[in-house]
Symmetry: C2
Amino acid sequence: MPGEQIPHANPSPVSSSLPDSVLDLAVNLPLKDALSESDRESVTKFKRAADYIAAAMIFLRHNILTQETLKPDDIKPRLLGHWGTCPGLTFIYTHLNLLLSKNPEVKALLTVGPGHGAPGILSSLWLEGSISKFYPDEYPMTLEGLTNLVRGFSTPGGFPSHINAETPGAIHEGGELGYALAVAYGAALDKPDLLSVVVVGDGESETGATAASWHCHKFIDPVTSGAVLPILHVNGFKISERTLPGTMDNKELLSLYSGYGYAVRIVEGVGSESSDPKGDIDANLAASLQWALKEIRSIQNDARNGKPRAKPRWPMLILKTPKGWGGPKQLDGKILEGSFHSHQVPLPAAKKDETQRKVLEDWLKSYKVEELIDPKTGELDEAIKRIIPKQRMGQLKESYDSRTPLDLPDWKDVAIQGVNNQTNEQTKSGEQKGQEEERPQQSEMKAVGAYLQKVIEKNPETFRIFSPDELESNKLDATLDESHRELQPDQYTKGNGRIIEVLSEHICQGLMQGYTLTGRTALFPSYESFLGIITTMTIQYSKFNKMAREVPFRGGPKATCGTIPSSINYLETSTWARQEHNGFSHQNPSFIGSILNLKASDARVYLPPDANCALSTIKHVLNSQGKVNLIVGSKQPTPVWLSPEEAEKHCEKGTGIWEFASTEGGKKPDVVLVGIGTEVTFEVVAAASLLKKLVPELRVRVVNVTDLFVVGREGSHPHALSEAEFADLFNQGGGVVCNYHGYAKEVQGLLFGRDGVENWSVEGYREEGSTTTPFDMLLRNHVSRYHVAIQAVTFASKVNDEVRKKQDEVVGELERRIKEHQDYLQEHGEDLEGTYDTPVF
Amino acid sequence: MPGEQIPHANPSPVSSSLPDSVLDLAVNLPLKDALSESDRESVTKFKRAADYIAAAMIFLRHNILTQETLKPDDIKPRLLGHWGTCPGLTFIYTHLNLLLSKNPEVKALLTVGPGHGAPGILSSLWLEGSISKFYPDEYPMTLEGLTNLVRGFSTPGGFPSHINAETPGAIHEGGELGYALAVAYGAALDKPDLLSVVVVGDGESETGATAASWHCHKFIDPVTSGAVLPILHVNGFKISERTLPGTMDNKELLSLYSGYGYAVRIVEGVGSESSDPKGDIDANLAASLQWALKEIRSIQNDARNGKPRAKPRWPMLILKTPKGWGGPKQLDGKILEGSFHSHQVPLPAAKKDETQRKVLEDWLKSYKVEELIDPKTGELDEAIKRIIPKQRMGQLKESYDSRTPLDLPDWKDVAIQGVNNQTNEQTKSGEQKGQEEERPQQSEMKAVGAYLQKVIEKNPETFRIFSPDELESNKLDATLDESHRELQPDQYTKGNGRIIEVLSEHICQGLMQGYTLTGRTALFPSYESFLGIITTMTIQYSKFNKMAREVPFRGGPKATCGTIPSSINYLETSTWARQEHNGFSHQNPSFIGSILNLKASDARVYLPPDANCALSTIKHVLNSQGKVNLIVGSKQPTPVWLSPEEAEKHCEKGTGIWEFASTEGGKKPDVVLVGIGTEVTFEVVAAASLLKKLVPELRVRVVNVTDLFVVGREGSHPHALSEAEFADLFNQGGGVVCNYHGYAKEVQGLLFGRDGVENWSVEGYREEGSTTTPFDMLLRNHVSRYHVAIQAVTFASKVNDEVRKKQDEVVGELERRIKEHQDYLQEHGEDLEGTYDTPVF
């Protein structure tokens, strides 16, 4: 059959054509005496117990110690969790415990990448007492607790099959693959004492996020940050095919990861076709972990004693064990252990098929769990207890209770003064002359940059900026006056720079997440169009966040301990409305939509209309906890509409009438003009001004929305306006002209269910763009002042006879201006400098 | 000043601690005699001309050959395009032309990764006559044509600063970085004669997409596919910092890329701190390209002659040239060439600042362009013409005119028979007994898999499936009966497998794009929750697509040549509604929203409600051109509602009344129930059935929407229903209860502007999930039959007095059932097998 895949045994790949000299890259260690007999007893027993429990979690609901012959009713109705990766994870966990029990001063955090391997981690966590600590009622250290753990796994209310916020010690949602490595690096930053161990699956290592993240050690300053120890776990197979590392021989693996910059130690020695004749993999891993710790200390000591190494080669382990190691060897002639057939559940019909059930029983009994866990009391064997360390990985405070709030300066210290809406108030019923010209101008990002400079100054060890190579382009360069970019192998780097720039949004997001969940605060500024690259990472983070609020140990409403971490914070700029010069590929506001779909309790989207509002907003988000904050602003100089005091009030409410731009303060309007976003609000104000000249009879109210969620129907979001507030603000006159920065469908979706929505017109980015002038971008997307004004006249005509009389004439005039603009552009486009409103007729 | 970055000269990184033996990995070549004097003259002159034109494009609008002293008015008002990367690109282009002119049988496609380097490519394309070929009116091979090219660049209507669909020969939107490499690999598949050359920028190489894609050669069968030659262009800097490769010395680079599996040749020899004492980089690149071609042919010949090499090491070049090579050396003591200061525009004030203008003039004059292009006629120097190959990279048919439509089998051959809605019609006014039980059941994915098997059979060289390791889990395993997974280093691979599985959505997307834009058709099946990983890649592809329709050579409505390629096709399954077992991280329908925001002309979203509709849809999308198609379906067995004939009609219309499930065929309904998506439609049908039992007086109409865009307001999408059709179908009775698979906001946004939207209730995925039973997933997200029924009764009560009388009682009963379910789950959850509707009370 052409489709039949041969069930490979453990990989024995073709030898590569790399020269043997590559083998010089391998770290070799003497294994003799690496493990005392007593330690060997401990690790063997801990692992046996952990493997047994993991297997039981996948299969059993009764008879959980397999003391009786297995009956169909003992087997779960649905078998979940992936056995394939579990024995490797318990092996690592066991030996890390040995390492930590020998080195009690080491604080280790474990991040686990491989998918659906939760049974292996949960079983280890139960053995070390961490599950009981956080779930004393459900999972005490008794037979009953163990029964609940096994029986409840992957059923409603029990632990799921992948690592998540319910898992003690975890700082990472483990369902979607690829993010563990960068997260582990983020955790190590600014924690000089932390050993951040991360297990990367070989399937997971195929992802872009992981492939990029191997470089992250280049951002680690050995003086001020901790260390990351990556363990690439190669068992050779994904669901039903080899992994890429599974096809690579040792020469290739050594070459690749040495090229990334690591000192690589390959740990192998088990399995039918092992290349290590000694085969003592326990001694091997024990010695390798000790070596890694020694290497790390040595690199750190050198650097901390003023003798930093150039390009230190941080240690890394490649652990090769068979897939489903220790599980059933084969079934009906099909190889299980060491093949992809044990990736998920190796005996899927164990409930109904007697043969499979017998194989399962033999397998489970082979662990002799009764020697390890007292079947009467649940007491653990002494050898197991000996290697449970004092500082357990499942209970490290850094993972659940470690937030240091930022010491935040007053944003008004850098606010833009000189805004005088009172003066404008006086002139506004008059000719509106010079309104815009008199206003101070400031780039929102310049203002935010000045504020961030102060944040860095006051928080030199607990605040970081992760950015994909656009900090200066995004006008946040003031931050570089206080700190600098961190890039260790650059000979000019001074270390401990607060800014990491790398052209991988995946790395930025992973670092931010690891940094934030271990108690610090970060900001991720980016070009608007490219934040969508990490859409799913944000979603996964938000899922972790949501669950964290519901568990008893992460500071949520029902928690008995823990702290809610700082929010993660995105700052989008270089928005489509000012990407006229970089062209169509740089014009994309889609990330807003990703945030809108997150749980309302977490999600926040702010579009501050000017620099003072941007300042108020950045202060607010850096101070907040447990949210996913997105700020969208402009990097170009734009008018400052509100004084610092006005901005503060406006941002608190999230929206408000801009009296200075409205007719008689916005009372009794014929039409309401709404701006959501910097440039589109500018056009709304310009439209109001234009209308006052063309149709003085038309009464406008100008509203700005800075907190997008206020428009959603009452109750849909904590910030949503009440129905009464909404009606007061918007449902006035003949209609509402809404000029929105993102896709119109987003606001349209939010408005669903609001009264009066049939009288709204919403325009936003229409996916029209090119290299052109800024104003042409607005024209092409129908959010220019002319488009706003035309719609305004149309709406106002419904309620104002004077306006209706002039409607055709005014609309004709506005359409003429649009055309004139387009013609001018066609003729003179090549000569235009491209300022914002070139030339307004 | 702490923030001041030292303006690095060309990288001279600290030597790594890797052993010297790594240098054995380097490919060494004799350079003597690599370049004849005549060839040297040609490449020098071609490159000089290309560099001059590229620089002129960035700076000049008049005096484009710098024949006069530069005046302020000669300089563009806004300077765009990045000079930094251009000279490296022209260098590569020049030498590829030399290679092709020496080897006229070679068909080479060039994919260019580095951002904003378009001037270097466009200038080369103009010199070889490819721009004139496709834009004969705007850019003829005359001085006028050249003037238009230079003057129009990065102005409205001119070429933008990055590669896009307007660029002849391009198959890739070059604004967002990271995708070039995978795209180039996709193009090479099944084109045994193609040489797919790809330039990867060193900044770009930091991205996850690129980092993962280096492994792609492992999917290339040297017998049936062409070759990819990657050129990593290291100029050391991003916008304002070193790149990661810029900090790596040759040992590290060799180690890394050899580890990926390449035979690496480092091409260097220019710049102040060159490590190549000979410094003859022209000879070096010429020899290196010849070597690469020879290597490729040798690998291919061996394989094609039945002697395939195990793990062939395909060639790869690492080209090191200074940033802004050949540009001004310094300005005011600041180093320009070889530093990040020449990343973008090296003389930004050339228009206003006389000193800068003078530096610019000297620089431009240094190229002596008058020796290369006749200032009177525009005629090119003979030496330049000598290396313009017969098969020019800008005119390769594969890049714009090569679609081979699939030979598509009749989907009805694998359709599910035995659906008899006539029988049901007869019983429907009665007790509805056994309605569901009598229906045939089929997994949509199983059906699609069976069809795809036939597609593969009939199209063994023009159809491919790219999948992130979930083909079998997604129940598409029938495809493996006709073909197999391709993974070259796996000793069991037979070559030419139609299925590539790799756990990188980025690679899958890149391969699909390259494969499709060179004339073939592909399918990308995926777990629903993880397709969002490539959201921005899809957006960038769609931007390319949109522009391709507007240029004169890609088969669009205004084109004089070219063909519109096949659509790109996504198949989402393992949806949230059936990811109860994998838990919260696997529950996410957000990719639909990404497609909704694309241009309406391109975007298609289908949610076929059963296997026959899924078959009709897959046939349709595989036959379509120029679209981005998303199909969302279930992999679990579900009822087949429509006969093949009914399904065909239903899919053509995109929506329709399901008479068999409605009261009296859906006439005069009190309420309209709408299902969009498989499981949620199942619940709608169940709700209708339930209502008929509980409130026989209530008249329901059941509507299914299979083509999501039909609900959008008239004119918003080619498939949107007219207002009249919409009103006929939906606006009946007391309201519309819409049960949607995705986020409710999406449908709510689409409905904006439709009449009667205030009478709609829309529910969808609420971001609520866990490991639980399938039915509990529906309950948690308020899309269960009970939720539908409650809302239906509420709406119907507005128009039907009989219903109103029983409203409280029926709603009470339905709420009781919800609670009973929840209680049952709490008590028995651990014992439930988790079938779809366990247990319905």
